[in-house]
């Protein structure tokens, strides 16, 4: 596919910080847009609720605005939804367990020819499944 050399040279001016800043700005704007669409609300509705002008909301939606955390929190409370997905903030840990045959010894794992099964679970204590013929040790 066609590429332009002048544009290619100009792309070298995109630092990781610039790239990330642009991506985040557009992400926030698009999330607000998607939530408003989902709730059948308009930019005017959001403006009225926040006590802002429509022009200001329109500027937010262009994906150029540098939002403060306070503003994002305010928007989230008004819309009743998170702008950033919850899993990004409070990511659940994944626990991996290796299941080894019951007649094998955990301590000398490296000397034993076993076929471990690995299972990923989100709860550390409560949901270790039972596999017939296998015991488990946490990886």
């Amino acid at each position: 596919m066609k590429r332009n050399s002048v544009m290619g040279e100009s792309r070298k001016l995109i630092t990781p910080e610039i790239r990330r800043s642009v991506d985040l700005s557009i992400y926030v704007a698009d999330r607000i847009f998607d939530i408003l669409e989902k709730q059948h609300k308009t930019q005017r509705d959001l403006a009225n609720t926040l006590g802002k002008s429509e022009a200001e909301i329109s500027k937010w939606m262009q994906g150029t605005h540098n939002f403060t955390l306070n503003t994002i929190a305010k928007i989230e409370s008004v819309l009743g939804e998170h702008i950033f997905e919850t899993s990004d903030i409070t990511k659940q840990k994944e626990y991996k367990y290796i299941f080894i045959p019951l007649n094998a010894k955990c301590t000398y794992l490296s000397n034993i020819n076993i076929s471990p099964k690995t299972v990923s679970l989100t709860s550390e204590w409560n949901t270790v499944p039972e596999l017939e013929g296998y015991d488990w040790c946490k990886k």
């Binding site: 596919m1 100009s10 995109i14 610039i18 800043s21 557009i26 994906g63």
Partner: protein, 167 residues
């Protein structure tokens, strides 16, 4: 004094979702967008980097009108690609043809409240408005077609401009 300026719409870059075009005036080596980049890359590297990063997002996501600031009259497709930096004064003007086609023009440093008050920026926008008007007419008469991300048919025509000086 009005005179005719012949131009062609040139494909700059092609991607899966979006094609980027620009305007090449007859007798010139570079398109309007290339001239913009060459003019400001050294003096305003951060602004150019930001504009290029935004274009890269458009290339992936598509051309959404809400990501632009519409510059001209209500019915035209001429828009400004705003920079991310609140204090940046560099402006790039373009025509949003469809979710898959963007025609990039020229731009410059905005030192006035509106672009109309700046002779150079006003010229950039006016040229694009005339190109947009001409393209719309050609789309209606089917001499230019929009095929997905491609502009096909007659992409070389003239517009009448006021000044002898180049934009």
């Amino acid at each position: 004094m009005k005179f005719k300026r012949v131009l062609s719409i040139e494909l700059l870059e092609e991607y899966e979702k979006v094609n980027i075009y620009s305007v090449l005036f007859d007798g010139e080596v570079h398109t309007e967008f290339e001239k913009f980049l060459l003019s400001f890359s050294q003096s305003h590297p951060k602004d150019i980097g930001t504009i290029m990063a935004r274009l890269d997002r458009i290339i992936v996501d598509g051309v959404f009108p809400r990501h632009f600031r519409f510059a001209g009259k209500v019915k035209d497709r001429t828009a400004e690609l705003p920079s991310n930096i609140d204090t940046a004064k560099l402006r790039l003007y373009c025509i949003c043809i469809s979710p898959h086609i963007l025609i990039l023009g020229n731009g410059g440093l905005k030192s006035t409240r509106t672009y109309n008050e700046d002779t150079s920026l006003n010229k950039c926008v006016e040229h694009l408005q005339k190109i947009d008007l001409r393209l719309k007419h050609q789309e209606r008469t089917n001499s230019t077609q929009i095929n997905g991300k491609y502009l096909t048919g007659n992409l070389s025509f003239y517009i009448e401009i006021e000044d002898e000086k180049q934009p």
